[in-house]
């Protein structure tokens, strides 16, 4: 069950839209904080890849999508799942290895998918979801579904062959696809300066004959506006767009990260560019929300996460008994 029907449209088009944009950014922030807390308290095992600081990108992109439009996501995928409408309890339950989790405890943080909200899944392999999104877009075109497929990936994935091959396929077949790069500056410890010989990642679009656009990935409005143009283009049959959303992850790559490759000052600079207060100020200025409403929305997000954690903690642990039967889908007679 998805938690909320998705609200589509410009984040400042109405109070409802502004409320949605803020609520979903806050849900992502609070979810990630809860995950960090559960890890810190030893209640979660494995690893985690937090997207704190990056909330505007998936929220803005997904406000241009219908629930039928599809996404593929990454190892840092909690935000994409939430922005597309995933159920918070089932997400937390998956991370806690519970039977009611999205994957029944078999996938964990890096493999949450949600068919009901068009989420084809997070991915543990950098770039792994990009050709899959191209295939989803191919199916949309062949079946005349009128839907678009968005692949979220990081700057690191842009140097994978999978990016290149999928971008080229999408371009030559004019697939309804969006290649959405969250450029958070680092592929684990490798900075974009070290990993690219070009300054502007959007230039890569030219190499495939498709538009490449830069947006401020910490500005949900700017992300939405670029996303809507790309969605319109894709749905008109004009082919894919490469969007480079410049953003930053406040936390380390994963829990083993000691931040040896970047400075405290750099992290502090980006914390000042927090997408949430930036949007609150704008929504209040444009009279879409009041300060009281914004406070209430933030509290609502917190309450939703707390409720999800409480429910998930109580749920039944995943059972190894069914593992062998879970490898293949049953062949129907």
């Amino acid at each position: 069950m998805s938690t909320n029907p998705l609200v589509m449209g410009h984040p400042l088009a109405s109070t409802e839209n502004a409320r949605h944009a803020l609520l979903y950014m806050c849900r992502i922030r609070k979810f990630e904080e809860a995950v960090e807390d559960l890890f810190g308290r030893g209640m979660m095992h494995g690893t985690m890849h937090l997207s704190i600081g990056q909330e505007a990108s998936p929220t803005g992109m997904c406000m241009a999508l219908t629930i039928q439009d599809q996404i593929t996501s990454t190892h840092r995928g909690h935000g994409h799942c939430i922005a597309k409408g995933a159920d918070l309890t089932r997400m937390i339950a998956e991370l806690l290895g519970k039977e009611i989790g999205y994957c029944g405890g078999r996938g964990g943080s890096m493999h949450i998918a949600d068919v009901e909200t068009g989420n084809l899944g997070a991915n543990g392999v950098v770039g792994g979801g990009i050709p899959i999104a191209a295939g989803a877009a191919l199916a949309s075109k062949m079946m005349k579904k009128g839907t678009v497929a968005v692949s979220f990936f990081g700057d690191g994935a842009m140097n994978e062959g999978a990016f290149h091959e999928a971008a080229n396929l999408a371009a030559i077949w004019k697939l309804p696809m969006i290649l959405f790069c969250e450029n958070n500056k680092y592929g684990m410890s490798s900075s974009t300066e070290k990993a690219f010989a070009i300054d502007d990642l959007a230039d890569r679009g030219k190499g495939y004959g498709i538009p490449g656009v830069n947006v401020n990935g910490n500005d949900v409005v700017e992300v939405y506006e670029a996303a809507q143009i790309a969605v319109d283009r894709a749905k008109k049959g004009e082919g894919p767009t490469l969007i480079i959303a410049e953003t930053y992850r406040w936390k380390g790559h994963s829990r083993s990260d000691k931040n040896l490759y970047r400075t405290k000052e750099e992290i502090e600079e980006w914390r000042l560019l927090d997408p949430i207060p930036k949007f609150i100020a704008r929504a209040i200025k444009q009279k879409k929300l009041t300060q009281e409403q914004c406070d209430a929305i933030q509290q609502e997000a917190t309450d939703a996460i707390v409720a999800a954690v409480n429910e998930a903690v109580k749920a039944k642990a995943a059972d190894p008994a069914g593992l062998l039967d879970a490898v293949f889908k049953k062949v129907s007679a």
Partner: protein, 332 residues
């Protein structure tokens, strides 16, 4: 009844066209599968029959092609993806082994990948080390893949139709040397399926059980015929699908013959056929054996180029014959 003697290429094409006609969501994509008709002529005239919307020529981009097939399979289509040589699946292995094979399990059953990856494998064409491998164990060792190795046109047709029906990813390994030769048996008309996971007892005998895969079934069959004239009678079993593997006919046969020989084209070390030996060793039928299990497999070398070197690298009919005669004569 039919007495149609088709080649494996014709039988595979016939299965694909039946599936195309039955289900609008079936399509074919791969390098040169369109106007060219496929590097080995398997898709043939399908491009002209079904058009460029269902027979998709792709750039040379195996990872992208297989990934696109996975994504399309997740989204309501049933792709058949042709990889021009099985060796090139190495380029696509993330999508095969990390994505297609694991999605159903890893995502808790939320999604599944009804995709068939067809690819020619094997040596004997003088194409040397990067165009001649037998990679059965690569795929058989990945949980989540079904792996089919047809040895003749009639099986290829029925197994491919079942593979296209299957809701899971299927790796369909076709041997190049079988593409252009007719099988021993006619290929039935119609759309009959051969279920995956059911071995075939090709012929029955009382002195020796041979389990062989792919082209080695054909080579072993010739040996069975020849030795029958000498009074040695052999049971020949073709697993047909190596994942899942049907061992029951092997156990039953060994209980009668007391001797087991296994034959594969790929290198012996960590080869698929070793799984047959391992399962036999752990079974209650093991006690029926009166001879050590004989393994014939490829040498542990890359496939070489020159004809005499290439032949030396994989079991030939003479090797199978000598080994079969020896095990029956020496162990009584």
């Amino acid at each position: 009844m039919s007495d149609r003697m088709l080649t494996m290429a014709e039988a595979v094409r016939e299965a694909m066209t039946i599936a195309f006609d039955e289900r609008p969501e079936v399509f074919l994509l791969g390098e040169d599968v369109g106007i060219y008709g496929g590097a080995f002529g398997v898709s043939g005239d399908m491009y002209h029959r079904y058009g460029s919307e269902r027979v998709l020529d792709t750039p040379i981009a195996e990872l992208g092609i297989v990934g696109a097939a996975v994504g399309a399979a997740l989204s309501g289509m049933r792709p058949i993806v042709e990889i021009q040589f099985s060796d090139f699946t190495a380029q696509a292995m993330d999508q095969i082994a990390n994505q297609a094979a694991k999605i159903h399990f890893m995502l808790g059953g939320a999604l599944h990948v009804p995709m068939v990856l067809r690819t020619p494998q094997g040596s004997g064409t003088g194409a040397a080390a990067q165009h001649s491998q037998n990679l059965e164990p690569w795929f058989a060792s990945v949980p989540g893949l079904k792996v089919v190795v047809p040895s003749n046109p009639a099986d290829a047709k029925g197994l491919l139709l079942a593979s296209i029906d299957d809701p899971n990813p299927v790796i369909f390994l076709e041997h190049k040397l079988l593409y252009k030769i007719p099988g021993r048996d006619p290929v039935p008309e119609g759309s009959g399926r051969i279920p995956l996971g059911v071995a075939k007892v090709v012929r029955e005998g009382k002195d020796l059980t041979i389990v062989a895969t792919g082209i080695m079934v054909n080579k072993s069959y010739e040996v069975c015929e020849k030795l029958a004239a000498e009074g040695i009678s052999i049971t020949l079993i073709d697993p047909r699908t190596i994942s899942p593997l049907d061992m029951q006919p092997v156990y039953e046969s060994v209980e009668k013959t007391g001797r087991l020989m296994v034959v594969q084209e790929g290198p012996a070390h960590a080869g698929f056929i070793n799984e047959v030996i391992a399962q036999m060793a752990g079974s209650s039928s093991f006690g029926s054996l009166i001879a050590p299990i004989k393994r014939l497999a490829g040498m542990n070398i890359p496939i070489p180029y020159a004809p005499q070197l290439e032949k030396a690298a994989v079991p030939q009919i003479e090797d199978i014959e000598a080994a079969a005669r020896e095990i029956v004569k020496n162990w009584r």
